[in-house]
């Protein structure tokens, strides 16, 4: 492990922690605008997290150690997963860090703990949330893995670092693959981060909530960790999308100027994508739960198409 790599670990973690709440707030802002509202400030998520850190934690009577450990494990798993997706600077991969399958399974680890915590308090909302979350994540999984296989196929590597380095060096890949990868990754992003039409992050209605249902019993600093980790997960998947499709600005050598430019570019790209996500969410309604498999089938179709194009091109 070189000095550069350790520096990368620090830089990446700081950038993701700093920018993640911004993108979440931006999406909310865009959605508010399309509804004709002013909406909360773009810094609202930062304020919320700081406020939550100051509040006391309330545990439910029946809850066990799972409830106590979940926020910590969840956050740790997401932060380690964050090391797998270079946001601004791509170093040489070390010891399998950046492996795309491991990245996926680290997200699954976080989800596993979150779903158990949803069941822990014995509330029916929590149970409903984790049941739906695990069902959705199970049926989206084949699509996700095929998309990742398509990426591995196009870039001839399993490592996210190498993929980013390749696209940073060679510019974007050819158009049809670009479009199809973009669509598939976008659908995965929507599903994995519980957005409309799969889930509605804004409501606490029994019929619609999935992710919010699972974390309903969380409070205080634990809730702050859960909210922040959800924001980071969104940022990671956004970074995966933008850095593969629009790699310009991504630094491959460690210079201060390069890092600053990369950070500015990353935030700009993130802002654009947040806007797109916000508009997409505003233009959709939440789907009925059992209609979701057909949406997933569409993503599956696009990702299989990429591979077929590659195979027979």
């Amino acid at each position: 492990m070189t000095f550069d790599f350790i520096l990368y670990l620090a830089i990446n973690t700081i950038v993701v922690l700093a920018t993640a709440p911004l993108f979440i707030s931006l999406i909310k802002k865009v959605k508010a605008w399309t509804q004709g509202r002013q909406g909360p400030s773009v810094f609202q998520t930062y304020y919320t997290i700081v406020k939550l850190l100051k509040k006391e934690v309330i545990y439910a009577h029946p809850s066990s150690r799972i409830m106590r450990f979940t926020p910590l494990v969840n956050m740790a798993a997401i932060l380690v997963a964050a090391l797998f997706v270079p946001l601004v600077f791509v170093p040489e991969p070390v010891g399998g860090i950046g492996n795309i399958i491991l990245f996926l399974y680290l997200l699954a680890l976080a989800k596993f703990f979150m779903a158990l915590a949803g069941l822990d308090a014995g509330s029916s909302f929590g149970g409903m949330g984790s049941s739906r979350e695990m069902s959705i994540s199970a049926i989206i999984e084949p699509t996700t893995i095929i998309v990742f296989a398509a990426l591995a196929f196009v870039f001839k590597t399993l490592n996210i670092f190498d993929m980013f380095a390749f696209s940073a060096a060679n510019g974007t890949v050819t158009t049809p693959i670009l479009i199809l990868t973009g669509i598939s990754l976008f659908i995965i992003l929507i599903v994995e981060t519980s957005r409309i039409p799969v889930d509605n992050p804004e409501t606490h209605l029994e019929l619609t909530m999935i992710h919010e249902g699972m974390i309903l019993e969380q409070s205080g600093r634990n809730l702050a960790l859960m909210e922040l980790s959800a924001a980071i997960k969104l940022t990671l998947l956004m970074a995966l999308l933008v850095n593969l499709i629009m790699p310009f600005g991504l630094a491959t050598t460690l210079t201060l100027a390069g890092l600053l430019i990369a950070t500015v570019f990353f935030i700009l790209k993130g802002v654009v994508l947040s806007g797109i996500i916000g508009l997409f969410e505003s233009s959709m309604t939440k789907m009925r739960f059992f209609q979701l498999p057909s949406l997933f089938a569409m993503a599956f179709f696009f990702s299989t198409l990429i591979i077929i194009i590659e195979v027979f091109a």
Partner: protein
């Protein structure tokens, strides 16, 4: 030196069988403890021997007896056999430790001596199957393994459910033996010897027949769908240590048989690999889908074993495909994945069966809907079951992930190179594999959540207490092994001489720890430390009721509906009304029944066909002497005619 050690271990195991069964069959705890100590001791010796051979020691080979020139009981332990010996040794030691306490809680008096003795006989049979150097001794100990495990399954024979399970198991396991025998005989006819040596290529029809019957024999033993039905019957019926041994180890012996024959005897064709891969994928996906629906805790674990054997078969299928098409790197990778997953599954499945046994012991039920809230009442058992769940759900940094990622990497990297049609096949299998692993995560969230979390759903569950130390120590060692194998997977492969493109899980585990520590320090410094225990948010209900909780059924309902075409649920709704216009309801019945697809469409028709055939044949046996004389007379005439004609 190592040969003597191996013989010593075998002798100790034999003693472990004779002491409680023959020498002293009185109902004494000390006898059983002594016999189980024999198991632990010989497992430790076997473990040592196998580790030495695995790390590059010389293989052991010797002949025990040779009554005829062609027939001999001879043994050889090479690296492959040593690996499977390690699996047997590791699981047996922990199971025996657990059983010292668990067997004492069973009813049955001195019958427990027989149980203890047969456990040792069963382990001995498995050790000798793996060590066999020719097909004759392989077959002999294979049958011994089947017979001794049948006695173990039938332990609670006074229970009708157990009797049914036992008979089912007996028939299936004898079918397996029959197919294995047939395969071995076909091989012997082809090659003229009973040795485990190359049968030559290209494959003649007889070799193909031999392969197919051996494959079916091993699939029945391993629980590959559609030959899987005995698992969900036999596992819940048998005592938990026996389930742990059968699921953890015996299924792996089937895997060993397949790998041994594929590597040493056959020179496979491409379609063999595709067949194994397809059966493996089918078992993996269907196994986990059925596991989701199962509410018997041990039945659920049995279905999950089917899933994992499916994954192992996928690895073996990939190995055959890649080695036939000339990608030896990926072939090694998939074989290592399959073998490593065998070890991992042995560890975490026996861990899960043992801790499930503790739960069943504490709550006196196997139905997960009557459990709940055990995490606070049985903290250690819940921690053990939790470790097993994380491992089996293939989550990093535990061992289940380390072996599944090997198979993922093999598929991901080969997909760019193999030819187009194989690409399509690999993609399909990849998608199914991903689905399997995500569904098994859902399945174990459901299992752990319903058994250990929230409020207890029955009085027994509310009054459950933690089990004693021996019943924690056995699975405890297994849990530590799961964590160790997960974290050090990469280093262990290097030590064994394989450089695999596995991510360094130790680094990942270390990073997880660092991040968790940093977050904890941050929270300690900057966040409020106040905490309070209060009621669960319940939308204004007066008090929280266990009956209002999400149940296991409820949890899997969305997946039930999505996969309803696979489950084939039959919903019957009959109503009788007082009036003609069907307004005033009188009475009615409603029923939701899960169809047992394989049982109704495959097993029962076959059984009915067999029954019909035997009815026809039994007509000849009417018990009347005149008829039999007639048969003799007709036969004699026919013989005369036959001789006259030719």
């Amino acid at each position: 030196m190592y040969t003597e050690l191996f013989l010593l271990a075998v002798t100790i195991l034999t003693a472990g069988f004779f002491i409680p069964v023959v020498l002293c069959n009185r109902d004494l705890r000390i006898v059983r403890t002594l016999a189980l100590s024999c198991t632990i001791l010989s497992s430790v010796i076997l473990g040592l021997v196998s580790v030495v051979i695995l790390l590059g020691g010389d293989p052991i080979a010797f002949t025990a007896s040779q009554p005829f020139a062609e027939f001999s009981l001879s043994f050889v332990i090479d690296r492959l056999a040593a690996f499977f010996l390690l699996i047997i040794a590791a699981v047996s030691a922990c199971v025996a430790l657990y059983a010292t306490e668990y067997y004492e809680h069973l009813g049955g008096g001195s019958r427990r001596n027989l149980l203890t003795g047969c456990t040792n006989l069963f382990i001995l049979a498995m050790v000798l199957v793996v060590a066999s150097a020719n097909t004759i001794s392989f077959f002999f100990f294979w049958e011994l393994m089947a017979a001794s495990s049948f006695i173990l399954v039938m332990y609670e024979y006074d229970n009708p459910e157990t009797r049914k399970a036992g008979i089912f198991y007996f028939i299936m396991t004898q079918l397996s033996t029959l197919f294995v025998l047939f395969g071995i005989l076909a091989l012997a006819v082809q090659t003229g010897s009973f040795s485990l040596a190359a049968a030559g290529s290209p494959a003649t029809p007889l070799i193909i027949v031999a392969f197919l019957s051996l494959f079916i024999g091993f699939s029945i033993k391993g629980g590959i769908i559609p030959f899987h039905k005995w698992l969900p019957y036999a596992h819940p019926a048998s005592p938990s240590p026996v389930s742990a041994l059968m699921s953890g180890v015996m299924l792996k012996i089937a895997v060993y048989g397949l790998v041994r024959f594929l590597m040493d005897v056959f020179s496979p064709d491409l379609w063999w690999g595709i067949t194994i891969l397809l059966f493996g994928s089918l078992s993996a996906v269907l196994g986990v889908i059925y596991a989701l629906k199962e509410h018997d805790l041990k039945g659920m674990l049995a279905y999950s074993s089917i899933e994992n054997i499916g994954i192992i078969f996928m690895g073996i299928g990939l190995y055959v495909i890649f080695s036939v098409t000339g990608f030896s790197v990926y072939a090694t990778l998939s074989l290592l994945g399959a073998l490593f997953h065998s070890l991992n599954h042995a560890l975490f499945k026996s861990l899960l069966f043992l801790s499930a046994g503790s739960v069943v012991h504490a709550t006196h039920t196997r139905d997960i809907e009557h459990m709940g809230g055990l995490a606070r009442r049985m903290p250690w058992t819940s921690a053990l079951f939790f470790t097993g769940s994380v491992a089996i759900a293939a989550l990093p940094p535990l061992n289940g992930f380390a072996s599944e990622i090997l198979i993922y990497i093999a598929i991901f990297s080969s997909i760019t190179e193999v030819d187009s049609l194989l690409k399509v096949l690999l993609l399909v299998c990849l998608a199914l594999f991903a689905l399997t692993s995500a569904l098994s995560a859902a399945c174990f969230v459901k299992a752990f959540g319903s058994v250990f979390l929230a409020l207890p759903r029955s009085a027994e569950s509310a009054g459950a207490t933690e089990v004693s130390r021996a019943m924690l120590a056995g699975p405890g060692i297994l849990a530590l092994a799961c964590i160790f194998l997960g974290l050090c997977a990469y280093q262990l492969f290097l030590l064994a001489g394989f450089s695999v493109p596995l991510p360094d899980m130790f680094l990942v585990g270390f990073l997880l720890l660092v991040m968790a520590t940093l977050i904890a320090i941050f929270l300690y410094l900057f966040a409020s430390r106040a905490e309070r225990t209060s009621e669960t948010w319940g939308c204004g209900t007066h008090f929280q009721q266990a009956s209002a909780e999400y149940t296991g059924h409820g949890f899997s309902e969305p997946l039930d509906i999505i996969f309803s075409s696979i489950y084939r649920t039959r919903i019957k709704n009959e109503r009788v009304f007082f009036d003609k216009k069907n307004c005033i309801f009188k009475e009615g019945t409603a029923e939701i029944r899960l169809m047992k697809v394989f049982e109704e469409y495959l097993y029962l028709p076959l059984a009915r066909f067999g029954l019909r055939l035997s009815t026809i044949i039994s007509r000849f046996q009417n018990g009347c002497l005149d008829t039999y004389l007639l048969y003799v007379f007709v036969t004699v005439i026919l013989v005369f005619l036959f001789l006259g004609w030719f």
